[in-house]
């Protein structure tokens, strides 16, 4: 294995992804363990990938969604946001259709003011989302969080086995996932989905504390309804697999 082949085939990246065959992996390790250039290359990629993952997760938290799609964006808006968006859309269409009829400058001015007001509300929503991330960064101690121990469900199907009551006055909630840690898994992540299967929250690089996990998330993401929190684990060189499912019914206390 020489540097030209390593460069051309992006061997270092596939090594980090765990996607080389055992023979290729052994040959590459035997080479790089004594090669400063390749060690630099691996560590550069490792840092870049972990940084990108972290930024992606933070961006997802900021937007309340990890999706780039317009449709997914709409689906994952809460009911108030969907209503606001629908109103804005209706207003925009109405303005476009009615524009030729609006000869009088006063009426046109009113429409512009309405559009400006809607735009302000839109920006206000955006700011609220941006603050979410800032709060997370500033509030590392998660003071005032409520802890909910969750019992694992037998399967991903069936009625929720946990029930939680979330107070809106508490900014953070912590799910303590019992019995999640299992031998052999190198890394863990948690994915929270609502009853429609839409991802509400996702966190990477979870670490077990003794035999349980703590998942911290802003309480405002939880609404009345049924949720499924899935803990996934990944073994060296393989993709993540579900380790446990924690279903719960959430009720909001204002």
């Amino acid at each position: 294995m020489d540097h030209r082949e390593i460069e051309e085939r992006d061997i270092a990246l596939f090594y980090l992804r765990g996607q080389l065959s055992a023979e290729e992996r052994d040959a590459f390790e035997e080479h790089f363990v004594d090669c400063r250039e390749c060690l630099d290359r691996i560590e550069l990629l490792k840092g870049l990938r972990s940084g990108l993952k972290q930024v992606a997760v933070e961006n997802a938290a900021r937007a309340g969604t990890a999706s780039w799609g317009w449709r997914e964006w709409l689906i994952r808006l809460n009911s108030w946001q969907q209503a606001a968006f629908a109103l804005g859309l209706v207003a925009a269409i109405a303005v476009v259709i009615a524009l030729p009829l609006l000869r009088m400058s006063g009426e046109l001015g009113a429409a512009r003011r309405a559009a400006a007001a809607w735009e302000m509300r839109y920006h206000s929503e955006q700011e609220t989302s941006a603050k979410l991330l800032a709060e997370m960064a500033a509030n590392q101690s998660f003071a005032g969080a409520t802890i909910f121990p969750l019992v694992a469900a037998r399967s991903a199907e069936g009625p929720p086995v946990n029930r939680i009551v979330v107070s809106r006055s508490i900014p953070w909630i912590v799910f303590s996932l019992e019995g999640g840690s299992q031998p052999g898994f190198q890394s863990y992540r948690a994915i929270l989905k609502d009853s429609a299967g839409a991802t509400v929250w996702q966190t990477e690089s979870l670490s077990p504390m003794r035999d349980s996990f703590a998942v911290v998330l802003p309480s405002r993401l939880i609404k009345n309804g049924i949720y499924m929190l899935t803990l996934e684990g990944a073994k060296p060189g393989s993709r993540a697999l579900p380790v446990n499912h924690y279903s719960f019914r959430a009720s909001i206390k204002q």
């Binding site: 990246l13 090594y15 035997e30 363990v33 490792k46």
Partner: protein
């Protein structure tokens, strides 16, 4: 990630020479072996074990085992010293993953020394934030902005290069150029950050 900001130039012995010197009791040769392979062994262990403290424990144990075998003359192919060191490290990590299962069955407490606090330390959290800041800067400089998607899809979502190129209407050359530019900029910013601290910095 670890970048050696002040690499020292050393003249490396041949693997076979190193093995012979260690076998004859040369302590400086042992130090040379550890200095030469330490970083690589940490990288190998780091792909198998997440916790930093555990990587360090396993690294030290790997060298203890390797040196013991070399001193006893148990290395059959001295010219393949690198392969020998790698296999010792990898086997040790695999052995570690097998131990919790054995402990569950037997109730043995012999492996208690392997229990480590897996939560990231405040320093690690700080370094991760610094790494994310650098990546955000790299991303902000990607032009046109839609090429940021290439980095996410290739490095985070682990999509195939061919699929991304087909989807975004890019040639292989163009794709490589975008990645190369991002990697170069990341390296540049990272070395700049490393130079603010003496020796090396590390981000995981």
């Amino acid at each position: 990630m670890e970048i050696d900001a002040n690499p020292e130039q050393t003249v490396d012995s041949s693997p076979a020479d190193l093995v012979a010197r260690i076998a004859s009791g040369d302590r400086r040769a042992e130090e040379e072996l550890i200095g030469r392979y330490s970083r690589g062994v940490s990288v190998i262990l780091g792909t198998l074990v997440e916790q930093r403290a555990l990587v360090e424990d396993l690294r030290q144990e790997s060298f203890r085992i390797a040196l013991e075998k070399i001193r006893k003359g148990d290395v059959r192919e001295p010219e393949r010293l690198s392969g020998f060191i790698c296999s010792v490290a990898r086997n040790l990590a695999i052995q570690y993953f097998r131990q919790p299962a054995q402990r569950e069955v037997t109730g043995s407490t012999e492996s208690v020394e392997f229990i480590v606090d897996s939560a990231p330390s405040p320093l690690q959290q700080l370094l991760r934030q610094e790494n994310a800041r650098i990546v955000r800067q790299v991303l902000s400089e990607v032009r046109p902005q839609r090429y940021q998607e290439i980095l996410y899809r290739y490095y985070v979502a682990e999509e195939d290069k061919e699929a991304i190129c087909a989807d975004m209407g890019l040639s292989s050359l163009h794709f490589n150029r975008v990645l190369q530019r991002a990697r170069d900029r990341y390296r540049e910013l990272y070395l700049k950050a490393a130079q603010k601290q003496p020796g090396t910095i590390r981000v995981e």
